[in-house]
């Protein structure tokens, strides 16, 4: 058995004449938690679907848990848990009925106790007879996670699992992910949240179907070569727009009340700042955050260019 949970090379997926994924390589070791980032439409979902055998790649080869993603999809499906971006369990079944269906389909032994345990661990016992469709976003997401992990998969593929979920539920969700990870589960999770990305062992960044960068958070920040200045003051609100157009400023964005401007050339950044001296703003250089890096990456590579959903 290979030590890589995911090993895909040159993955391409075309819909019509448009490439949703265009030559992606991912080598992901077992037991890690990887974050999958990129703007909407960058090909994250399509890549995940190809990895778990839900879409046939137009070109490229790969293995998932040692099985060929083209020919051995059935084996992959049995050993992975895939949580879709949109809630895809049956809204007209109760929580328990959904879990029972999954348990039967995977032919789990001791079904009843297994479901009881799962409900208990996820704190769903009290709600087990509620119709899934009537649950709030956070509970739906818990149910989905319970359902995709109940058959004890080796690999978990989570497609924006925390979109539209409140901060506490998000926190609980990630605690659960890390708990599963310590048991040896490999997790690939796509997200738009930087705090979630920072909790990952590694990050893969996609844009327009191409893999732009990957690595540890610190490495990605270092590799970007970005420098960031932070401005604080009463009049900082008016500065983003003029600064954005200064030469050498790759992006200017607010982080709370502060304005961050980033670029790779210190001299031009400082020149831009001196032009705003008449405003009452205090500037200082700060360590660029992951978000600074991603905003810069997005402005370098462009945003969502999809023509369809």
């Amino acid at each position: 058995m290979s030590e890589l949970a995911i090993d895909v090379r040159g993955l391409v997926k075309r819909f019509g004449d448009k490439a949703a994924v265009d030559g992606v390589d991912i080598q992901m070791p077992k037991g890690q938690v990887w974050g999958f980032l990129g703007p909407n439409g960058s090909g994250k979902t399509t890549t995940i679907r190809m990895i778990c055998g839900l879409l046939l790649p137009t070109a490229g080869e790969g293995r998932c848990l040692g099985y060929d993603i083209r020919r051995e999809a059935a084996n992959i499906k049995r050993r992975t848990g895939y949580m879709t971006q949109k809630f895809s369990f049956w809204t007209d079944l109760t929580i328990r009925e959904n879990l029972e269906f999954v348990a039967r389909l995977y032919q789990m032994p001791n079904r009843r106790t297994r479901i009881d345990d799962t409900l208990e661990t996820l704190g769903l016992s009290d709600r087990q007879h509620q119709i899934a469709g009537a649950l709030s976003g956070g509970w739906k997401q818990r149910l989905a996670l319970a359902a995709v992990t109940m058959h004890q998969p080796e690999l978990l593929l989570l497609d924006e699992p925390t979109a539209g979920v409140d901060p506490q539920a998000r926190r609980d969700f990630w605690d659960e992910i890390h708990r599963l990870s310590t048991k040896g589960l490999t997790v690939l999770v796509s997200t738009h949240y930087m705090d979630e990305a920072e909790r990952c062992d590694r990050i893969v960044y996609l844009a327009h179907g191409k893999l732009i960068t990957q690595g540890r958070v610190a490495d990605i920040i270092a590799e970007s070569g970005l420098m960031t200045f932070r401005g604080i003051g009463d009049e900082v609100r008016a500065l983003a727009e003029p600064l954005r157009h200064q030469p050498g400023v790759e992006h200017a964005a607010y982080f709370g009340a502060a304005l961050h401007i980033s670029g790779t050339d210190r001299a031009s950044l400082e020149r831009a700042i001196t032009k705003t001296e008449h405003k009452k703003v205090a500037w200082s250089q700060v360590e660029p955050s992951l978000e600074d890096v991603f905003i810069a990456l997005m402005s370098r590579t462009g945003g969502d260019r999809r023509s369809h959903g």
């Binding site: 679907r49 839900l54 499906k77 049995r78 895809s88 007209d92 029972e100």
Partner: protein, 379 residues
Amino acid sequence: MSTLFNSFARINAVFIKELIQMRRDRLTFGMMLMIPILQLTLFGYAINTDPKNLPTAVHTAEHTPVVRTILTALKTSGYYDLVLETDDPGDSDRLFAAGEVSFLVSIPAGFTERLVRGDRPQLLIEADASDPAAASNAVSLAETIINQALRHDLTGALAHLAPTAGPVDVVVQRRYNPEGITQYNIVPGLLGVILTMTSVMITAIAMTREVERGTMENLLAMPAKPHEVMIGKIAPYLAIGGIQTVIVLLAAHYIFAVPFVGAVWLLLVGVSLFIIANLALGFTFSTIAKSQLQAMQLTFFFFLPSILLSGFMFPFRGMPDWAQVIGEILPLTHFLRIVRGVMLKNAEWMDINTELFAITLFTIAAGILAIARYQRTLD
């Protein structure tokens, strides 16, 4: 053997899920039970291929006993309802155009006199034949009705004028349904129509619903094979079809008094095969349709020729050859022969096995097409 067991376990999982969903979808579930009742009421009571009491206008220039006899005979035959007397023999166009009457009976002046003279006077019945079925029985029986009535009047000196028997004694036996009761034909046929409509539609929808709600992606990500999903999804509706069959058969017996002379088990074999054929077709539709709406449209696209070309509405043998060829493809055609054969004519295994075979063939073809078209991926 263990793969078969695994397969069965997965079919069972889909089956139970489908059963719960079906139970929870009260509207659809209710509709499945209401459709047979509604259709039975509508078709069973409303359709009559031998219409009687048709509104008739009379124009008569004289009021002799002979004329009275003729008019009374027309009336008591049950076909003619004399609603209107008109003075103008040219009135028919207006009356027909307005749809006030279906017939205009004209008895000219001097009719009785010429009858007594033995001149074979003419009596004109104008019929609104724009709907041939509505007019046909009343018209074809008119001569018999009138002549038979006159036979009683033409006695004594006039006896020689009474109609005599023709050179050939034609004996017609109307078998299986001697009284020509429309319901004997319609109600068993309705069983086929109801099963076709609901079975095809419900499976077509059940599958496209998964796609529309986004649960298909989930189903595909789990280890169920296409045929397992298909069998598991179809099975609960087989039970629904069974319930519908019971409803129709009970109504046929207790409400419409349709005879059941054949073997019940044989009919049940036919019904089961027929339901499976329709469910398989519905599943095939669901692999073609992209939405529940399209699934509905496909169902009706199939339903219409089924009703028109199967022999349910119109006599199958009366259709042109090409229409019969299309009719032979439809499972309803074969089912109608089975259900009418078993219920009315005591048809046995040997009489209907070709029909059973035809339905089986259809099922296999639809099943193969469905499995081939079932998307294992989201492509």
